[in-house]
Symmetry: D2
Subunit: 159 residues, 4 copies
């Protein structure tokens, strides 16, 4: 059966994004976000548990993160789970689970992030590859242009 792999998170950045610009101009950003839940333990005491999530953004989303996101900012992230395995420096097999973002929305008011209180950003999809990705999400600057939505349909159709 076909499958679905979707994650939806709202949390705050634990660090500023780390951004790498790969050969070919592709950007990758990474940062952790925290979510926390409170619950009562057996003694009825309120407890809090914080969960940390490793977020990865590519291309346009990475560039938006680089420009606008800072430690502490609240974000909405929609993406998919991905577990990588690798050998650490001691040759030990390790696993690392991250969330590859498809969509990122900046939450919070002006005072939270100094950017006017929000914006939606989205991974490109379809067969866009390398070169022409820059069309749908300009590599060189997102001066408004990257706030694109997935609104492809003609908006003035007669129904």
């Amino acid at each position: 059966m076909a499958s679905v792999n979707k994650v939806i998170l709202i949390g705050n950045l634990g660090k500023d994004p780390e951004v790498r610009h790969l050969e070919g101009g592709v950007a990758v950003a990474r940062f952790p976000i925290a979510t926390s839940e409170t619950f009562k333990d057996k003694q009825g005491q309120r407890q809090e548990r914080t969960e940390w999530h490793n977020i990865v953004l590519w291309r346009g989303l990475a560039e938006v993160a680089e420009k606008y996101l800072k430690k502490g900012n609240p974000v909405y992230i929609e993406g998919r789970l991905r577990t990588n395995n690798y050998q650490d420096k001691d040759g030990i097999q390790r696993y690392s689970t991250e969330i590859v973002a498809d969509q990122m929305t900046m939450l919070g008011s002006r005072s939270d992030n100094g950017n006017g209180g929000g914006g939606n950003y989205q991974e490109s999809s379809g067969s866009n590859s390398g070169a022409n990705y820059s069309t749908s999400a300009p590599a060189g600057g997102n001066s408004g242009g990257a706030s694109s939505f997935q609104n492809d349909e003609p908006d003035d159709l007669p129904f």
Copy 2:
């Protein structure tokens, strides 16, 4: 095949909640929230379209809404779609689609909603009915107690 009916919204209240207290002490709150998306029209002009969603909350969630939510506040709502049909005053059959909330999270900073920047609230579930619902989400006041999470499992199990 079994089914899923889930809605996830982040938006701002268009009005203060309207709250009714039914006989039996059950509370119901209703308010609209707006989401907006921007897109480019055929002329490449940036356009915005706002969508309005009718939110319905029951019991504990309704009481939280009554106490803490105001017009303009940003919220995260998770719920399910429900379309009611009814006859209006002229006897005309009409349809109305609303989102019945299962979970509500107040977003925004202190300055947004004057309540300290957030809180998660959740519908009770299971076979709780009438009387003992009040245990899991007291009808008479949610002074902290309603910030319950769905953390049922013992937290100190050995794995």
Copy 3:
């Protein structure tokens, strides 16, 4: 604050898709899907309530629906809520809420839909407009090519 408008449904088609091919080659498909939930009423009797959702798909998704979906088939739909208002033939203002699909996944085994048990399909996004949309989701036929995922990133990067 930026907003989110997301719907996730799993249900069965109540009818075969109705597909229109607009001038310009754009396809639009519509069909209802049913979700149902069971609950116990006050007398402890098991009750079932069925909800009907109006699904709209555009372009490539519409073409996939046209080719592969039939009444009764189970589908996973991810999309956004949209409420249209219009005047009916008697000049009465009416509202209609539909789910505009961004993603569609056919569920069920071979015996359910006669197509091999699944497939993921996704709306294109970004600033693709008119002409070059056909690249990412060919208008003239989805012979396998429309099973595209939102996997844009190079897959062999060193991390």
Copy 4:
């Protein structure tokens, strides 16, 4: 800001569930599910990548899994991410990310899972603890009774 931690998966069980019954009668079930996505590599070749997710279910959900789920079965899982760290037998610090399920829906037709094609199951929530949890999700058998929904509201209210 308040947070959200939500995962939605549709996939197939890689193994039969492993179920433990803890002292106190609490059940825990674990199993991996696979999701897969296809994409085109740089050479335009269709590639498939499978992701494995560790699912954990508690109490009633665990018991349903024990009774009805088998290797290969398709399921819908809704839950939250949780990363545990622990020392392995060599004293090495390791991390393991799992999805703690809040909701589980069996997908597939009769032929897929031999149980009649579906059913929705849900974690209890609220302040149910120990003893009275068994009310909402009987430990001793889910003979139909566990198919509970989160439908708490009176269903015959005048709106």
